[in-house]
């Protein structure tokens, strides 16, 4: 189709000259952005692809598809339409991303080959003359090709189809050469002999962190996260990432965080080189070493402990709680990051609240003398509790401005003490005759 033909068919047809160097530069910028947000090892796949090695990075997202959806969302907001796939091998992900119609595909572990059998042979990244030749012989899909005898195939088309099939299978390792921003603070050490023991790696880390901290010091920056990348003898790379709650350039602290990750590293036949880099940095002013004036112990002095626990358990497992102005008990709090500035507010203390909350509230069977009275006894989890004393009700209305369902929602809360002195927080839901009783919490 000529430009004139296209212009005739589509009004407001815009013609731009192709600019491969600018495309590549844009792609590199995207790869670097992905590096900060998604995975330590990213690379460009010209003309229009990105590689992300997400090994060990999935736990930041609910699942693999969640990562892809997040990536697609963010790219979409910048006006980039993209399709993505996650698979065991780069080749399988490459094929699924380009030849499946879904915007996000996850190939289950161990199914790299079987999931790709119905894709056309062009998905194997073969030269176009090989693809044409294969199709002329009747090889339409990868499945056809995989069943064909290898020697004859190699005789006719060279080693390339066999190599690509092996890469798809994971039989042949395919390294991803990562890109790094030139301004990235990064230190790399290469070894004369490959190392593989934990103490050796630890020494290397200590060395690298010291150099890195000097770099950070000179530029007035603090690291918000660190990547440790090992380069193995067989060409493979393994990366681990640690995050910090606050920017820091405290060498012992950073060293401790990285050393705790050594157990995740697989040295294989030996490690040739290790690099430590800071993908995310933030300005950090020089701090005085200490002060003679005694200060109140501040929650922010906990950065080292919080980082160490956060990297071991996952940062979202650590949280603080701050009040939310809502009468509905479940909504009266929200989680904060552990080192967020103090909120300086607390809940009103005149309304007693239970120490343990049941989420969701549990339905209990009750027996009351009069319909409107609190129960004389209730059955919870097949145990019977006889009421000795009661305090209440405390009426809590639904928040009608949130949804229509809450307009009529009313809960009458009672504090009930049983014969043994244990106190329970029960509520009656609704004010009609069909009201039901729920146990919502236990007091101390």
């Amino acid at each position: 189709m000529t430009v004139a033909h296209a212009q005739m068919l589509v009004q407001e047809f815009v013609v731009l000259d192709a600019d491969p160097p600018a495309d590549l530069a844009g792609l590199s910028r995207l790869a670097l952005w992905c590096q900060q947000r998604y995975a330590p090892l990213t690379s460009v796949d010209p003309p229009n692809g990105l590689w992300l090695d997400v090994t060990g990075c999935i736990h930041f997202w609910p699942d693999e598809i969640g990562l892809l959806v997040d990536l697609n969302d963010r790219l979409g907001r910048s006006g980039i339409s993209a399709r993505g796939a996650i698979a065991d091998t780069p080749a399988a992900a490459h094929a699924a991303a380009r030849f499946r119609s879904a915007p996000a595909t996850v190939v289950e572990p161990g199914e790299s080959k079987s999931a790709s059998l119905d894709l056309p042979v062009a998905a194997l990244r073969l030269a176009s003359d090989i693809v044409v030749g294969l199709r002329r012989l009747g090889f339409e899909t990868i499945g056809h090709l995989a069943r064909a005898p290898r020697p004859q195939l190699a005789l006719r088309f060279g080693p390339e189809p066999g190599r690509r099939l092996d890469q798809l299978n994971g039989l042949l390792f395919e390294p991803i050469e990562p890109v790094f921003a030139p301004e990235r603070i990064r230190r790399r050490a290469t070894f004369v002999e490959p190392i593989s023991t934990a103490p050796a790696i630890e020494t290397a880390i200590e060395h690298l962190v010291q150099q890195l901290v000097q770099d950070l010091d000179q530029t007035g920056l603090g690291a918000c996260s660190l990547d440790l990348i090992t380069e193995r003898v067989d060409g493979g790379r393994q990366a681990v990432r640690v995050g910090m709650a606050r920017p820091t350039r405290d060498a012992p602290h950073l060293r401790k965080l990285l050393v705790a990750q050594i157990e995740k590293l697989d040295p294989g036949f030996g490690i040739d080189a290790i690099s430590v880099s800071a993908p995310l940095v933030a300005p950090l002013r020089p701090e005085s070493a200490g002060t003679l004036v005694h200060r109140e112990p501040d929650i922010r002095s906990l950065a080292s402990l919080v980082d160490s626990l956060g990297n071991r358990l996952g940062a979202e497992r650590l949280f603080r709680v701050a009040p939310v102005e809502s009468d509905v008990p479940e909504r009266s709090w929200r989680a904060l990051p552990p080192l967020a500035p103090p909120a300086n507010v607390t809940w009103p203390t005149e309304l007693p609240r239970p120490l343990r909350m049941l989420a969701p509230p549990e339905l209990v069977d009750t027996m009351a003398l009069m319909p409107d009275e609190p129960p004389a006894f209730f059955v919870w989890r097949r145990d019977r509790y006889r009421t000795a004393r009661v305090d209440g009700p405390e009426r809590i209305h639904g928040e009608w401005w949130r949804s229509d369902r809450e307009v009529d929602a009313v809960r009458d809360y009672f504090r009930i003490e049983d014969e043994r002195g244990q106190r329970y927080w029960l509520f009656r839901s609704g004010i009609s005759n069909e009201s039901r009783w729920f146990l919502h919490g236990l007091f101390g």
Binding site: L302, P352, R389, G444
Partner: protein, 244 residues
């Protein structure tokens, strides 16, 4: 020699402690209060041993009287923070760590207990701890001087955590007991008085086990004297004499 090595970096002299402010309890403890730089165990009694609501309130009251940040680690997330604010523990002071299982709780406990400058560290453990693990925690607390509190929350009522031997300094059991009428002079008035606990000091290094009946923690984390003793007026005694 092992003992000397263990005692090597322990601070000498008077051991700091956190008094309860009730003479009855403080005098039963050899250090005149809960020893800091040590691990203490708290468990619920009776039907509450699974949920540990009263025990958590007791722990919250203790921590409300300390200074500095608190690490509170647990297996499952059922603690309701507004209630802790009700016993005087400000929400800004507490960092919660959801560990997922008991083993991780112990790991977090040990790491946090090694950190100097915390007001206290709490861990809710739902299984056995073991003597070795508890000894490690105790040593970690001794080196940092941080107050460590372990809440025992067995998954089922049949598991009895009281029988396990650990290196904890003291062991407490908090059981709710029926509270009296809200107004002594008018027993028919409906309502609830201050909750009442039976506080059992089950084990105490260098002290005797003892049992107290106390009023639950108030808004500043202080225990109250047993309502029977504190609020009892002279009237009933006089009355009984009159009848006799």
């Amino acid at each position: 020699m092992v003992r000397a090595a263990e005692l090597g970096n322990r601070p000498t002299g008077a051991l700091p402690s956190l008094p309860f402010g009730l003479n009855e309890i403080d005098s039963a403890l050899p250090t005149g209060g809960l020893m800091l730089g040590a691990v203490h165990e708290v468990m619920g009694g009776g039907p509450d041993s699974v949920h540990g609501a009263a025990a958590a309130s007791f722990v919250g009251g203790i921590l409300a009287r300390t200074q500095g940040p608190i690490i509170w680690t647990f297996v499952r997330r059922d603690l309701f923070a507004p209630a802790l604010a009700g016993v005087g523990l400000h929400p800004d002071r507490v960092i919660y760590v959801e560990a997922g299982d008991s083993k991780t709780v112990l790991l977090v406990l040990e790491e946090a207990l090694r950190h100097v400058g915390l007001g206290g560290v709490v861990g809710e453990v739902d299984g056995v701890i073991g003597l070795t693990a508890s000894r490690r925690l105790q040593l970690a607390a001794e080196t940092s001087g941080v107050l460590g509190l372990i809440m025992r929350r067995p998954r089922r009522l049949t598991v009895n955590a009281e029988l396990e031997t650990t290196a904890a300094h003291t062991r407490w059991r908090v059981t709710s007991v029926p509270s009296g009428p809200p107004l002594i002079w008018s027993p028919a008035t409906p309502g609830l008085a201050r909750a009442r606990w039976q506080l059992d000091l089950l084990r105490c290094r260098g002290g005797e086990p003892k049992c107290f009946v106390v009023g639950a923690c108030d808004a500043t984390g202080h225990l109250g004297l047993s309502a029977d003793l504190a609020d009892r007026s002279d009237a009933p005694v006089e009355q009984s004499r009159a009848i006799a």
